[in-house]
């Protein structure tokens, strides 16, 4: 048993190789983030405030406690904020030059952290229980720990809205991209069937609308080669049994969310100490799943998987010559050799009296969690 454990440790050290935390950093201060969290988990990444996409994280490496680092994302950024109003008009695409729209942050906007170049905050914060396991009366066997997370955030002023874009890196190896909308409501008056009465009485009906937020994640698990995407389903409805169905996406794909459905990106050659391929799981279960008209086909799916092309950056209104205009068109028939994942998360906002003013932030996002990155929970104490 002991020998097996030792062997596993050696395997783990041998399989998760470069990029090593000791290698030359791919970026410098103030663009470098290298944060060790209280439980020993460590995240290394670079950030950039791009003119079009705004805050972009690049070269993201997760270093589990006691192990070597593993490259996760080559880059991650917002890819569109599509805002159609319920009466049919107006319909906005809120990217927008996000970079120049970034709001200078105060120290109070970045509690416990450090502002980088005024518009980016890098901080850490508690995330509640990491685990809790009773000792059945034996305090020595009781396991309880509080978790923490690294946050890299920026805020943008787009019209009435202030958007807060967060990249949250958990001390459990998870990544949570999320967008919060705050600022003010538009103040558009509509008919009762498209809105909700705000203000005194029933004179002003604030128009309901959607925020369909797209993220682009270029996964490169230990480099750009060999990455594979799988979709998992669990068949069985109204029955006792559930049967796992694995679909390997060999070609570009458009997928919709479904109960229990998730995806993962893995590199079959990068293994953990148990010999299982290292992967990151993507779930998108918290979306209002907006579906627009035919000319907004980019809203018709919840996850897109495309072959990497440098010019494909926005999910709609992409502006690059010799490049398609939207993500539904990127997802053609190409064979996947270097997959990029696009996640579409919708939030339908029906205003309420509490939304004025300033509007309390409402969040939308999704989770990326490690699956078999380490052979066991490295934070069990």
């Amino acid at each position: 048993m002991l020998l097996n454990l030792a062997l596993a440790a050696v395997l783990a050290a041998g399989t998760l190789t470069a990029p090593d935390s000791r290698d030359a950093a791919p970026c410098r201060e103030p663009y470098r983030v290298d944060q060790r969290l209280p439980n020993g988990a460590r995240w290394q990444l670079c950030w950039e405030m791009r003119t079009i996409e705004g805050l972009t994280v690049t070269r993201v490496v997760y270093v589990p406690k006691g192990r070597r680092g593993v490259g996760v994302l080559r880059s991650g950024a917002l890819a569109q904020i599509h805002v159609p109003y319920d009466s049919g008009e107006p319909r906005y695409h809120d990217i927008g030059s996000l970079g120049p729209s970034a709001v200078p942050l105060t120290a109070a906007d970045c509690p416990g952290g450090r502002r980088r170049e005024q518009t980016v905050c890098v901080t850490t914060r508690p995330r509640g229980h990491a685990h809790l396991k009773d000792g059945y009366g034996d305090p020595g066997r009781r396991r309880s720990a509080q978790g923490h997370e690294l946050v890299v955030l920026a805020a943008y002023q787009v019209g009435w809205y202030t958007y807060i874009a967060e990249w949250v890196f958990g001390d459990d190896g998870s990544i949570t991209p999320r967008l919060g909308a705050t600022g003010s409501l538009a103040g558009y008056t509509t008919t009762p069937k498209h809105g909700w009465p705000t203000g005194v009485g029933h004179r002003h009906f604030e128009e309901s609308h959607s925020h369909n937020v797209f993220w682009r994640l270029d996964f490169d698990i230990q480099g750009r080669s060999r990455d594979v995407v799988e979709q998992y389903d669990f068949s069985g409805n109204g029955t006792k049994k559930r049967t796992m169905v694995r679909t390997r996406l060999t070609h570009e794909a458009k997928a919709v969310s479904a109960p229990m459905r998730w995806w993962r990106v893995l590199d079959p050659k990068v293994r953990n100490g148990d010999g299982h391929p290292v992967s990151w799981e993507i779930s998108n279960s918290d979306s209002s799943r907006y579906r627009g008209p035919a000319e907004e086909a980019f809203t018709h799916h919840d996850v897109y998987v495309t072959q990497y092309r440098a010019c494909e950056r926005l999910a709609s209104m992409n502006a690059a010559p010799r490049c398609a205009d939207s993500v539904d068109a990127y997802a053609g028939r190409e064979r996947l050799a270097d997959p990029v994942i696009w996640v579409n998360v919708g939030f339908h906002h029906v205003a309420r009296d509490e939304d004025a003013d300033p509007m309390p932030v409402h969040w939308q996002g999704f989770r990326v969690t490690p699956r078999d990155v380490t052979a066991k929970n490295p934070y069990g104490g």
């Binding site: 030359a24 950093a25 791919p26 970026c27 410098r28 201060e29 663009y31 670079c46 950039e48 405030m49 791009r50 003119t51 079009i52 972009t56 690049t58 070269r59 080559r74 009466s87 008009e89 107006p90 906005y92 695409h93 927008g96 030059s97 970079g99 120049p100 729209s101 970034a102 709001v103 200078p104 170049e117 002023q157 787009v158 019209g159 009435w160 600022g183 003010s184 409501l185 538009a186 103040g187 558009y188 008056t189 203000g199 005194v200 004179r203 002003h204 990497y308 440098a310 209104m317 992409n318 502006a319 690059a320 010559p321 010799r322 490049c323 205009d325 270097d338 004025a356 003013d357 300033p358």
Partner: protein, 214 residues
């Protein structure tokens, strides 16, 4: 509390907003690595101000014949195929021909290494375009009068120029703007109100205003 107020004789309305909403302007070159100093930038660093300036100069060296061409902005080229190189993409728009031109500059070699053009591709508006669009709005006799009146009411003094307004622009396509470069503006007044400009589209190619109907 908010309420919608229609401007007499104008297609503009005003959304009245209460509460503290402060629109803070950036400096227009967010991608510029301002504190990198004289040190050579690392591969993942944003472009330095010096690199942005040099990329603009190199991209502008070869004249673009005819047209009405403006440099929108310079973005770092993040193509993985050129991982170690310092490259920049300079976005130009030709309003006369309604064509986007992107010139890729290799800063190490000091030259343009690629140029691509497309009609119909509309990158987000630049800060300068937002101001130009506001100037066109102010030049419209009816709408301009409405904006000035609302500004004077909010600020207690007359509008001096378009840059007095809090501006943010988004690209509008469709309708009269299928081929032209058009923006829809958000216009914030000093008293935190926003003009209701949702139906107003500024056509930068034709230098005119369209009012949408729905």
């Amino acid at each position: 509390m908010r309420r919608g107020v229609a401007l007499a004789g104008s297609a503009l309305g005003v959304a009245v907003l209460a509460g503290a909403l402060i629109l803070l302007a950036g400096d227009g070159s967010p991608q510029a690595a301002r504190t990198a100093g004289q040190q050579q930038p690392a591969p993942g660093d944003p472009l330095t101000p010096e690199e942005v300036g040099r990329a603009s100069e190199i991209a502008n060296r070869r004249h673009m014949a005819g047209g009405r061409v403006e440099l929108l902005y310079v973005e770092r080229d993040d193509d993985k195929a050129h991982e170690g190189d310092r490259r920049a993409a300079a976005y130009f728009y030709d309003y006369a021909r309604d064509t986007l031109v992107v010139r890729t500059v290799d800063l190490g070699r000091g030259e343009v290494v690629a140029e691509s053009k497309a009609a119909g591709a509309q990158p987000p508006p630049s800060r300068r375009e937002e101001v130009v669009a506001a100037e066109l709005l102010l030049a419209d006799p009816r709408l301009g009068r409405g904006v000035r009146a609302e500004y004077a009411r909010a600020a207690g003094r007359p509008l001096r120029s378009a840059s007095d307004l809090g501006l943010r622009g988004l690209i509008f396509r469709g309708g009269p703007c299928r081929t032209h470069r058009c923006v829809r503006l958000f216009v914030r007044l000093p008293d935190e109100r926003f003009l209701d400009t949702s139906r107003i589209v500024v056509d930068l190619s034709a230098k005119k205003i369209h009012t949408l109907e729905w």
